[in-house]
């Protein structure tokens, strides 16, 4: 079946079997290998992408179901080639990763949290990344990374959505 997917702002066309997950389509057909294949049954969160801004598991959606959504992968977060988003940068700075396998999912989960609030509590952060498994860091530095990113975004001069400003 032909599917038309809007990925990172671009319309991409892929010819897929119905049983092909969005994850496999992103990786194998569109060569966006930032979403990682971990457990492939919805447990680990390594394959996290954003659908209309919400974090979801791309291994639990078939590509044929994903037309019409705004899909954002980790490749779509950086402002320009060779640059990092504030959250990605904070992960580097706090060593919020070791092997890096879970990192794209962690960053995207953190991204959705910080889209909603720039003053998350530790519990908010833990809840936001609760669906992403990391087997290296022990999570401490990941939580630190999200805290640091929130702090930097709060202090930045970047334009924000009205609901953030009014807080």
């Amino acid at each position: 079946m032909k599917v038309e997917l809007k990925v990172n702002g671009q319309t991409r066309i892929a010819d897929v079997e119905p049983r092909q997950t969005l994850l496999d389509t992103l990786r194998d057909d569109l060569h966006l290998t930032g979403a990682h294949a971990g457990c492939e049954h919805g447990v680990c969160g390594a394959c996290t992408v954003l659908l209309d801004g919400d974090a979801v598991r791309s291994c639990l959606i078939f590509a044929v179901q994903a037309d019409g959504y705004d899909i954002t992968t980790i490749e779509g977060l950086a402002p320009a080639p060779g640059e990092l988003s504030v959250i990605q940068d904070a992960f580097c700075e706090t060593h919020g990763m070791q092997c890096g396998y879970c990192t794209p999912g962690m960053v995207l989960s953190a991204h959705t949290l910080l889209q909603r609030t720039l003053t998350p509590s530790r519990e908010d952060i833990v809840d936001a990344i609760s669906g992403n498994i990391c087997r290296c860091t022990g999570y401490g530095q990941i939580v630190e990374a999200v805290e640091m990113a929130a702090d930097r975004l709060r202090k930045s001069n970047a334009l924000r959505a009205a609901h953030e400003v009014s807080k």
Binding site: V43, R57, G131
Partner: protein, 295 residues
């Protein structure tokens, strides 16, 4: 971890869904897919056809209707959790929803999907049974409904016919002034399947006497169970009366033993969590917390 081949169909109407289901016994409905897709990936399920109802018009949304909150079957769990009507009129559901999976699975998983899946430890079926919700579904003969207590038969087994499709869940709203809720759950990790969960909703009068009580436990038996503690209506609750009432109805429950927890453990935890949920609900409603604990 790749599903076996299947045919994918996205019908335009509920009537067409029933037709497609009736025409092929190997057809399965897919909505959020948060349980079905893992089963497909592990090849525990191998349907020939998947009928996608997620974008069917009219099947998603939350509205108030005749003293009930009606939640469309394909309403995302995340949307229900954020919904103002659910928070104000269905506080028990609002309290239970954060325990359903993780944020990414709630963004995709649906309220109706959790009901249809009928996992004995799932939170949404527990709330439906505890509050006495009605499950509304489309059949080839038209729309019909059934009390949640009759709907769930056993683990992943419901009384719905293969040609039917859940369209909504109708949760009754209590009209009393002072309502409180309590929800407790024990699992190996946050948001894993519950070993035992307990849900309670209590309404009290100005004097702190109970007007209405609902108590339910999940994960203990082969489906969510409503426990009858109606003899407490008209009384003020205290630690002793709660413990006695919950022990009387929960200590003898038929419970399942598995790798995670023995039947005996499940019964004991059901008593403890049931009492905790009831105490919290009573305090939340404006009665004095039975243990005197601050909330």
């Amino acid at each position: 971890m790749k599903p076996a081949p299947f045919e994918y169909i996205r019908p335009e109407s509920l009537a067409q869904v029933c037709e497609l289901l009736a025409a092929d016994e190997d057809a399965r409905i897919i909505a959020g897919g948060q349980t079905l897709v893992p089963m497909l990936a592990m090849r525990l399920a191998r349907p020939a056809r998947l009928i996608d109802i997620l974008r069917l018009p009219g099947l998603s949304g939350i509205r108030e209707e005749d003293g009930a909150v009606v939640i469309g079957a394909t309403t995302r769990q995340a949307h229900a959790l954020q919904n103002a009507l659910v928070r104000s009129a269905l506080p028990l559901l609002a309290q239970a929803l954060p325990w359903v999976g993780h944020p990414p699975t709630r963004n995709r998983g649906t309220v109706g999907g959790s009901i249809a899946n009928a996992d004995p430890s799932a939170e949404i079926p527990l709330v439906a049974v505890t509050l006495g919700a009605d499950i509304v579904f489309a059949t080839p003969q038209g729309e019909t409904s059934m009390p949640a207590d009759d709907f769930f038969i056993g683990p992943m087994v419901t009384s719905i016919s293969p040609g039917d499709c859940i369209s909504a869940i109708r949760f009754p709203v209590w009209s009393h002034q002072r309502i409180g809720v309590g929800f407790h759950e024990i699992s190996a990790r946050k948001s894993d399947f519950a070993f035992v969960s307990a849900a309670a909703q209590v309404a009290v009068d100005e004097e702190g006497r109970c007007i209405e009580i609902a108590l339910g436990v999940g994960g203990v038996g082969d489906r969510a169970l409503r426990l009858d503690v109606s003899h407490l209506v008209g009384t003020r609750l205290d630690t002793t009366s709660i413990a006695e009432a919950v022990t009387a109805v929960a200590a003898g429950l038929e419970a399942a033993s598995d790798l995670h927890a023995s039947a005996d453990y499940r019964r004991r935890v059901a008593v403890t969590l049931g009492a905790r949920a009831l105490g919290d609900a009573y305090a939340d409603a404006g009665g004095k917390h039975p243990t005197g604990a601050a909330r």
